[in-house]
Structures are given as structure tokens and as C-alpha cells.
Amino acid sequence: MNLKLSVLIALALSVISIAAWELYWRAQGFYPTLDDNEALWAMQRHRVETASGNDVLLMGSSRVLFDIQLNEWQSQTGVRPIQLASAGSSPLPIFHDVVQNTNFKGTIIVGVTPGLFFSTTAPQAQPWKWPQSKVDYYKKRTYAQISNHLLSIPLQKSFAFLSDDQGVDGIKLKELLGKIKVGNRVPNPMPPFHEFGEIALDRNTVLKNIALTDTAYANSIKKIWIFFMTSNKNPPDKEGTTKFFITDAEKFMKRGGNLILVRCPSSGGFKEGEDKFLPRIAFYDPLVKATNAKTYYFEDYAQLKNLTCPEWSHLSASDARYFTTELVKIMIKDNALPNSKAN
């Protein structure tokens, strides 16, 4: 047994095959990206422990994640917000965690996406389970997990094939095997799903440009929204979610915290569905009244109300920058951000 020869062959072939794999995926249009995973979220959550009264936390679902741009916010206020929003999630578990487990009394912006905010307080329901899993991960993460993530960042930034994306854009072995179909034993009505965001280390996120330039791509995302809107058989739990949120909101404001509710833009079929099934007058307005928080609803402002989302739910990168700039201007004018540099 000539093990030395074997290891040299293995080494050479490994380097060649991995390089070829990377080049292949780059040729297919993939490029290195960071994963929006629990570890990345936990890095931002950790910053809250030392955040001051001047700091701003962003919470909500993907609309806050995509539509509020940290650079624009920072350039106007001098403060770079901490991005804690979580895609497909109710903001309630994360807001609850910050209110109950920290002494933070700066500004918290809570994005209200009606279909998610008012969805549920059931621990096993997806809009609750996803953000709660992030909170739990943060509480329980080990030093080994922290170091693994820190070590993975330069690799994620260097190699396109190191992607944790799922669905049609998934390229790790499990995802590639998942795309092989033999027959249709169990029908899956869910349309193909694209990962349409690009996230940075501080979780600043933008909609991929392809959603703006490729109509078919944007339409595939719209089909997902239609699927979610039509397949969700659970009625919203308006009373339960509102009550849960108000309890935390009162505690937060009582200790001097500045709470702001924001309704980010949506358009097309998504907006029509929201207006029909979760109308502002029945959901958002009573919430605002009950919390007594400052509130910004995009349709109330001439400069924001005509923004259009290419895939109905998130603004393009340039529109998100515009939206953030204008929103912050309005907030500063209202003196809603008491500790911003403009004040």
C-alpha cells in the first residue's frame, strides 16, 4: 500500500475538482454571497447588549430587511441601525426578546407586514418559529458555533459554491439531489422559489438586480406570493398578536424606549390581497391606536406612495435607498428620532 502516492493523488484531484466546481457555478452566473442564517443574525443581536439610547434597531419581516438601507439611514442620522428583521417572520418574538431580555431603550423600528404581523402567536407556526429559532440560537450559541461562523465568513465571501441557498438557487449537494424528480408521488403545489436578496455582514440587504431586469424572474416570485396568499387557510389572529405586542410595547416605552411602526410599500396583487383580507382600517389602525407609538404608513406620504415593488413585496435597491432617505427625512422632521445627529 503506497499511501503517500494515494494522498498526493487525492490532494491533486481534490484541488482540481473543487476548482472546476467553483468555475462551473461561476459560469452559471453564481457568485460568492453570505448566508442569511441564524449565526449572522446572532452577530447583530449581540450588538444590542451594548447598544446605547442613541442606537436604532430594525425589526420586522423581509420588507424592513430589503427596504430600509443602513447606509442611507446612517448618512442622515449618524447612526447605523442594527438590522434584526427576519424574512417570512412575525416581528413579535424578536421584539419580545429585546424588550424582555435587554435594557435597550433607544429606538426600535417595527415593520408591519400585515400578513405576518397579525398572523399568529402559536409557537409552531412558521412566522413565529423562524424568528424564535434565531432568538433561541442566540441564547444558546456556543463558542464553537461563534468561531465556526467567523471562520466561514471569508470562505463564503470567496467561493460561489459555498451557498446555503435553498430552492431553485440551491447548489449544495442536498439541494441538487432535491431537484431530481422521479414521477410525482406527492404533489408539491409550491412554485419554484428563488433567493432574491443579497445580504452583507451587517445584514444590510438588497433585492437582486435580476428581479428588476428579468420579468420572468420577478413573476416567479409573484407566483410564490400568490401561493402563500391562496394556500394559507389559517385566519389572522388579530386580537392575540395585538395583545402580545402591546404588552411588550408598553414595557418598552415605559422604560423610555422610542417605538416606531412602519408600513413598507407593497404593490400589485400583494397589495390588493392585503387591502382585501387585512385592510388597514381593521388591522393596522387599531394597532397604532392601541400602542400609541409613532407610525409611518407609506401611502400617507406623497413621496412614498407611488413606489412600486418589482415582485410586489420588496423595493429595488435604488428605490429602497430612496425610500430610506425620504422616510428618515420625514421622521427627523417629526422629531421621531430624538437622538439623530440632525437633531
Binding site: 500500500m1 503506497n2 499511501l3 503517500k4 502516492l5 494515494s6 494522498v7 498526493l8 493523488i9 487525492a10 490532494l11 491533486a12 484531484l13 481534490s14 475538482s17 473543487i18 466546481w21 456556543t142 463558542y143 464553537a144 458555533q145 468561531s147 465556526n148 471562520l151 466561514s152 470562505l155 459554491f161 459555498l162 446555503d164 449544495k172 449537494l173 442536498k174 439531489l177 431530481i180 424528480k181 422521479v182 414521477g183 408521488r185 406527492v186
Partner: protein, 471 residues
Amino acid sequence: MLFNSLSFVVFLVTVMILYYAKLFSWTNKKRMLLVASYVFYGLWNPPLVILLWISTVVDWIAGNKLSTEENPRKRKLWLLFSMTVNLGFLFFFKYRNFMLDNFTSVVNSYGYAYHAQPMDIILPMGISFYTFQTMSYSIDMYLRRTERARTFLDFCLYVTFFPQLVAGPIVRAQDLISQFYEEKKATINQFVWGLFLLTIGLFQKVVLADTLLSDTTDSVFGSKNILNGLDAWTGTLAFSGQIFFDFAGYSTCAIGISLMLGITLPDNFRYPYGSIGFSDFWRRWHMTLSTWLRDYLYIPLGGNKHGVVRMYSALMITMLLGGLWHGAAWTFVAWGALHGLYLVIERMLKSKIQIKINAYNGILLALLTYTLVNITWVFFRAREFSAAKNMLYSMLSMHNGGEKILQSFDILKVFVLTSLLFICHWMMRNTSLKAVSEKISPWVLGIVWAVMFFLIVISQGSGEQFIYFQF
């Protein structure tokens, strides 16, 4: 720290550099290994290193006393001291809530409305492994089967040696401590073979267990409904593969890493799904645990020296406790009971029927053994008896009306993979990986190695836990 993690890569490279650089004497290298082992464990939960220290100090003291004390009563007390502390830790951290739940159920069945407050206790990783390992030292010292460790450092390293600390193999003192007395250095062939074993172990864990099988297992055992028979069998077969690749993968990694340091660990798995019968299975599955249970439980309970009834009782008790060792739940006890029952029936049949094993009936008997082992895995994997009952109903009746949850490709994937696993175990049952590797061309070995490494890299294991860490 997990073997399939980036921090472990950095950790291992650092340890290897420090170990092979001519910076330290052998004693200092052992100190370095000890510190590294504490770092390895502490990066998961630093305060729980204290438990390791207590366990180490207690057994060191007990071992020293047992080596010099001649008074039988005092010797018994020192042994009792060691076992009380070790089993006390195990009981408190692993079985407290289980016992409390059972106590509550019994009390309430008599009409009391007792509500116990379960404690939110973290289960220290690998506590069952290192507890059994340190206990074996004290018991062997008591039975004068082994010599006292020469130095405290050697003993600490025996308890804490990082490759096998959290999931075995469970090593006896005489097999490991004596290796620490002389300077150890792997030959180039040992080092490369160790690296090869590490690659195989990671391939088993990351690619076969986590990428190819775990989702199917989770879907099937996570279902609340009565499943279609095909789905239930697929899920169970997937779990049989997953748990083997997960656990054997860890052991192979541990043996490989240790060999890279020039230290030999015992085999823990020898192609168990190629077993003919259950005695054979337990000589091949988790061998270091089954020999531990044989030497420290089955034989002290009477073994096969005191008649049939005592032997069967000892067998059942050993397997029941072996089941409980795996987890604080009655489903694990049922798993152990089923294996105990298989062993008892097998011995009864063997005493009445003599079968000459050949290649034809052998593979059929191996297939029968594997099928029956799969039945036991249902109890091992199901979290509740109701789930196990539903699964067994679907499997045994080949229930056609149950819910279908798996795609055809997933079923095909699991059947192909587990069939290959079974055939591979059958073909390898009388040989070893080393023997096979020696027969094939270095080019073929190199290509197989590269393919495994490539698949590990493109699978991108997300650092999921090894199943046996929870035991």
C-alpha cells in the same frame, strides 16, 4: 466542537503543529494535548469542564486508594465512592427529569394532583461516555485488572483525550494510559492512514448521514399521521443508515485523529449490518460499549455461569440498562428490551437447532437480522410509543391507505443506499478496510479519497450534531 466544523480544522492543525514541532518534551506535549482537550470540550460549554475535572479527581483518588488499600471493606467503600459520584452525575444530569416524570405519573395514578417542576438542566455532552470510561478504571483497579496510572497527567489525559472524549470509543485504562508512558509519534503511513480514516468518517457523517438520509428520517418520524407502509419502511431504513453512518463516522474520525498522533484506539464498529444473529450484531455494533456492558454488568450479574434462567435474566437486565444508557425515555428501554429478547430467543434456538452457515443461508440470515434490527430502530428513533406504534403498524401491515409523504426519488435513494450498505457490510464482514486498501492500487485509493473529499466539500455540512452526543 464538532469534527465536521471549521473550528475543528483550525484546532486540529494547531494541535498537530504543536505536537510534531520540536518545541516540547513528551510531558509537555501531553500537557498540550490535555489543554487542547479541555478547549475542545469547553468551546461547547466552558463551565461543564468542571464536571470533567471532578470526575477525573474522584477516580484518580479512588484509583490511588484502591492500589494501596488491602482492607476489603475499605476497598469496597472507595469503589462505592467512585461509582456514587460518577453515577450521581449521570443520574442528575441525564435521568433526573425522567425519574421525576415517572414518579409524578405513579403518584398521580393514586389520585394525587402532584405537579413536579422539571429542572431546565443541560445535558453535558458525552457524559455517558466519559463516566463509563472513568468508572471502568476504578472497577478495574478494584478488581486488580489494571495498574494505577503512573502520573496524574496520564490519568487526566486518559479521561479527557479529545478524539474520543464525547462519543467514544470507550477505552479501557490499560489500553490507553499505557500508550501515554512512552513518546508517541505516528509514522508517515500511520499519519496518512489516520487522515484517510478521518476523511471516511467525515464522508459517512456529512454526506451519507446528513445529506442523503437525515431529511427522510426526519420527515417520516416527524409525521403525526399513520403513514403508507412504503414511507414507513423507507424512513426506518433511512434511520438505520443514518445512525450507523453518524456514529461509525464519529468513531472512524476519532480513531483516525488519534492515529495521526500515533495513538491507537480500538475499533468500535465492524460492519454490523452484515451480522448473522444478534450476538454477532453486538460483537460488531458499538463494540466498546457492548464489551463494557458485558464486563461490568452482564458477567457480574452472573453471565452464563449460573444456569439458563440467571443467564437470560442477566442478558435482559444488561440490555434494558443498555437501552436506558442511550437515553432517558421508555422508548430506549423498549429498544433495549427488544434486543434482549432477540438475544434470549437466539440463544434458545441455538441450543436446539444447529445451522451450518454458508454463503447462501448466511446472507438470508443476515438479511433477517438486519430486518429485525430495523424494527428496534423504530423505538430508538420515535420520541413516543404512539409514534412507534403507528410506524410499526404501517410497516408490518404494509398499510396502503396511509399518508404518502416521500417522493419516489427519496424512496429510491434510501433503498439503493441501504442495499449498498447491507451488501458492503456482508462482503466486508470477515475482512477489514485496511486489508482491502492494501489490495487495491494507490491510484484507485487516491481517486476514491478525492471523490469522498469533494463530496464532503460540496455537501457543506452545517455542523449538525452527531446523534450520539446526546447519549
